[in-house]
Subunit: 306 residues, 2 copies
Amino acid sequence: MTELPSWRPGPTRDRLLAFLDEASHLPVERRIAVLDNDGTMWCEKPRYIQLDFMVDQLRSAVAKAPTIAGRTEYAAVLSGDPQRVAEVGLPAIALALAELGAGLEPEVFADLVREFVFTTRHPTLETPYASVVYQPMLELLQTLRARGFTPFVVTGGGTEFVRAVSRRLYGIPPERVVGTLIGYELSTGEHGPVLRRTGELFGALNEGPAKIETIQRFIGRRPILAVGNTAGDADMLAYTSAGPGPSLGVVITHDDDVREFAYGGAAASFEAAVPFEQQVQEAGWLAVSMRTDWSTVFRAAGPEEL
Amino acid sequence: MTELPSWRPGPTRDRLLAFLDEASHLPVERRIAVLDNDGTMWCEKPRYIQLDFMVDQLRSAVAKAPTIAGRTEYAAVLSGDPQRVAEVGLPAIALALAELGAGLEPEVFADLVREFVFTTRHPTLETPYASVVYQPMLELLQTLRARGFTPFVVTGGGTEFVRAVSRRLYGIPPERVVGTLIGYELSTGEHGPVLRRTGELFGALNEGPAKIETIQRFIGRRPILAVGNTAGDADMLAYTSAGPGPSLGVVITHDDDVREFAYGGAAASFEAAVPFEQQVQEAGWLAVSMRTDWSTVFRAAGPEEL
């Protein structure tokens, strides 16, 4: 079978495969790949799927306690008005929404995430969320595994949100996903210690330079392949490129407003000094055009996802 | 070949194997095992091997800058006087020693660890450090892998210290080791971002209840098998036992002063409300007697470790 069947023949696919061939000669412990999640593994427009989940949780919470809808951050996101959202700021809204999970045991939270992701349809693409995963990226994962790579998802999203679905969506086990971390608190229950989510982050939002620290903290070594799509991934890409020996930075360019969405590489929660497109060019990273380089964008919906 | 050949036939080995048989019927994603490191995977007496390493680093540092030997924590540990060490306190000494790694890139630090562990002999056992690994635990790892378990090391020691040697000593890759975390700082070098260790911890010392949070943060789910040897492991054992379905807590008892050392389950850096031995008994964890249950204690030294 041909490798990467949804990647159109051409210089992008050639360079990617040439790097993978070269990397196959490195010791297996160096074959580490890190992949951003939103906009790299699955669709992040019209807004992050995790944000859709959180707003769904907010609506349930408001149904039980209507007064909370008046909180500035909640009112902004419930209004659906992009200007109000921008005024309050996405990071502030995300932090306020994260509080909705406070008190939940991680297993219960993961069940809520799975229920949402595997039963809800994407708001504009008319397909289940489980089907807005990029088929060419699933093929890349398959190719990486066949060549002895260990792939990790390094996301700006919530670690527990992505972990809840990573095995079913990508075949990546929970311990190979790291993102923004939530705090925990321990208490003693009938059967022993009980761990519950708090409403506060543990450490920084996992974007920009934080991704480099996270990689060392969780994976313990420098990757040789990094894939991202916004300025929030630039540091992770640069760190990967700065290592000794062969390495490749890959950037997914969202330029297909027919099959997906067309937008640039600015990060929602991270200010970059230079435009991301300029960074990509200066660093020599491999820019992948969704329109030109991918013959298929989304995975086919399996009946189990509907 | 017989499983667990260095585990003597009897009720301990029987109960361990009965649990592993039972666990083989669980979904593979639930077959998570967590293993403490010092005193569980390798010898922790007469003092932690990481402490030996840090004192070695301290001696090198003192040779370059003799005045630092006057610092209270350093003077205590250099004196070799257990009473002075106890007065200053092991956690305070360990924190002061951790500062010696400040400014090092993680790869450089890992090389220093490997050089020390693989070229130094244990101070009293007259054998290389690489050979004070418990042979029965290596066999347990092999049995776990054969039954589809994913084993993780969850240590109170430094994450980067244990990761540097985990693959060679245990066959466990760096990302499956988590312990006490160190801080990082980023700067920009000639080739891109440069990550260096700071002298300060990131988060708490990974002992006691901290191990539960660490397990959720890194592994993302509750283990069904936990192995430890001191009160610093009690919370991890209790959390494992508190899960739904089959689980097993295993406690290595150091009762063999002929082949190893004889000492109780008090933790060096963690105060327990009740004696650990009492906790083990009340919880029904499987107490493994090194003297009675293990026919061999240490792995045979391979020529590559000498």
